[in-house]
Amino acid sequence: MISLRGVSLTYPNGTEALDGIDLDIQKGSFVFLVGHSGTGKSSLLRLLYRESVPTRGTVVVDGVRVERLRRSRVPQLRRSVGVVFQDFKLLLDKTVWENVAFALQVTGARTRDVMRQVPRVLDLVGLPHKSRMFPSELSGGEQQRTAIARALVHNPKILLCDEPTGNLDPSNTTEIMELLLRINLKGTTVVVATHNQAVVDRMRRRVVRLDAGRIVADEERGLYFGNEALRATGTTGAPALGPSAFGVGRGLG
């Protein structure tokens, strides 16, 4: 589904954000991208939806050579890759319903499809009763769920989340992670860049760790600081808080 080979990214100002990244992500998997601030997590995600192009290497998303994509084909890619951010990026003068519908309307979707898809995703994120409210009337978790609904309205195969819980309190964080798991269970590939150790350690999913633009660890059922850390200290009670703690995802991973 996603495949990066020898990918490096140097910004025009000379900052070397990524350096020789090789990474494969299978269809339907759930992957955490962790690492200190400034190690290139956001930069890596940006390559996947063609917000930037690598200086070197190849990026394949859903069979498409993203770095070679012509400008006119980028919108097509963006419809098959949903993106969610820490700051939600909602339009404050539009209601929940309008924010979600907007994503379809600006791609020229037929009104019939808008009327069908918007309720579907609002249902999925559990917000049908708030559809007439404005973002300012919602909690942070509800705003993020609106943003996720918007990211899903095109039925993307991949959902990219850049610090989706960065602005949320623990209970909202749990809610959002639960939702992302549910989306993943429906077959969507989910990639989450995060700083949140508790979330990563609880979920026991694949963890890809970046440091200074390189991949320094990549473990299935991993922990934020790596399974080495667990073995060394034995202090992270991760198994008790595995995916089953959310009541979903049993038998996966």
Binding site: A103, V106, R150
Partner: protein
């Protein structure tokens, strides 16, 4: 027809348009000024060209006869001139008739009762078939017997037309400059709207809207500004024509102005198209600059 789509689209355009009314008014006002000048210029130019042409075609050669030429000799001269194939018509104007016509023309401008004696000689008024033949015909007639003097106004008219042409070029330059200024002001208003909507635009790009789709409301906004400005300008021009032309016709009795030489409907259409085009092009560029980044 998908009315939901139509409503959404025009809702977006309306949102943009009402976001900064003062700026929109500035843009519309600039287009108005530009189009008024452009329209006035085109109008005056077509009218002048028509007037000039008309005057050239009306040029007559005045042939003044020597004092004491008999009526018979005058008749002979008349038919001789009329035989020239380049001549369209020859009219005999007697001394008395000449004075009567002059009194008529000068009525209200000069106290003709001051003319106590008749200073005019008998005359022939000759019209050439084509304006270009006037000089040759005049030269030919001057050599005939009984002819005292020959005069025509061709040189003066042609000089006036040349001056008009130069003025027209200067006018065109000024108008081109103004169109440019109007385009810049429209593009600035659009840029403000684009800036105010940069979040929306970023989100549109993120969710896979095409650049064409993102551009469309802004282009519409530019076209609306251009068209509104042009409409106001056309209204002003129509009012001006209505007020001014009758006054000009009375003020300039020698100039054959009739107010019909310009095709107003066509001119109005051209001006509307100009306004729309300026708006569309200006907004295309100001959004384009944003979309490339």
């Amino acid at each position: 027809m998908d009315w939901g789509k139509v409503r959404f689209f025009w809702g977006e355009v309306w949102r943009n348009f009402t976001r900064n009314a003062a700026m929109q008014l500035t843009a519309i006002g600039t287009v108005t000024v530009t189009v008024v000048l452009l329209g006035g210029f085109l109008y005056v130019r077509t009218t002048l060209a028509a007037v000039g042409d008309d005057m050239l075609h009306r040029i007559e050669i005045s042939v003044f006869l020597k004092d004491g030429t008999t009526a018979q000799a005058a008749q002979a001269l008349r038919s001789r001139i009329a035989h020239d194939h380049r001549v369209a018509s020859v009219t005999f104007i007697s001394k008395a008739e000449g004075l009567r016509q002059m009194r008529q023309q000068l009525k209200g401008q000069m106290d003709t009762s001051l003319l106590t004696s008749n200073p005019l000689p008998d005359a022939l008024r000759v019209k050439a078939g084509r304006p270009d033949d006037v000089p040759a015909v005049a030269a030919h007639i001057a050599k005939l017997p009984d002819v005292a003097t020959v005069s025509y106004a061709q040189d003066a008219v042609q000089r006036a037309l040349r001056v008009g042409e130069v003025l027209a070029r200067i006018g065109l330059g000024v108008v081109a400059l103004l169109v440019f200024v109007a385009a810049i002001i429209i593009s600035n208003t659009i840029r403000l709207t684009v800036f105010a909507r940069r979040r929306e635009i970023a989100i549109m790009q993120l969710v896979g809207a095409t650049n064409t789709y993102i551009r469309m409301p802004f282009i519409c906004e530019g076209i609306i500004e251009g068209v509104l400005g042009a409409l106001v300008a056309i209204g002003l021009l129509a009012a001006a024509e209505h007020q001014l032309i009758p006054k000009l016709i009375t003020a300039l009795p020698f100039v054959p102005l009739n107010g019909n030489s310009a095709n107003e409907a066509l001119l109005a259409l051209e001006l509307l198209a100009t306004g729309a085009a300026v708006g569309a092009v200006a907004s295309w560029f100001s959004v384009g600059r944003y979309l490339r980044t």
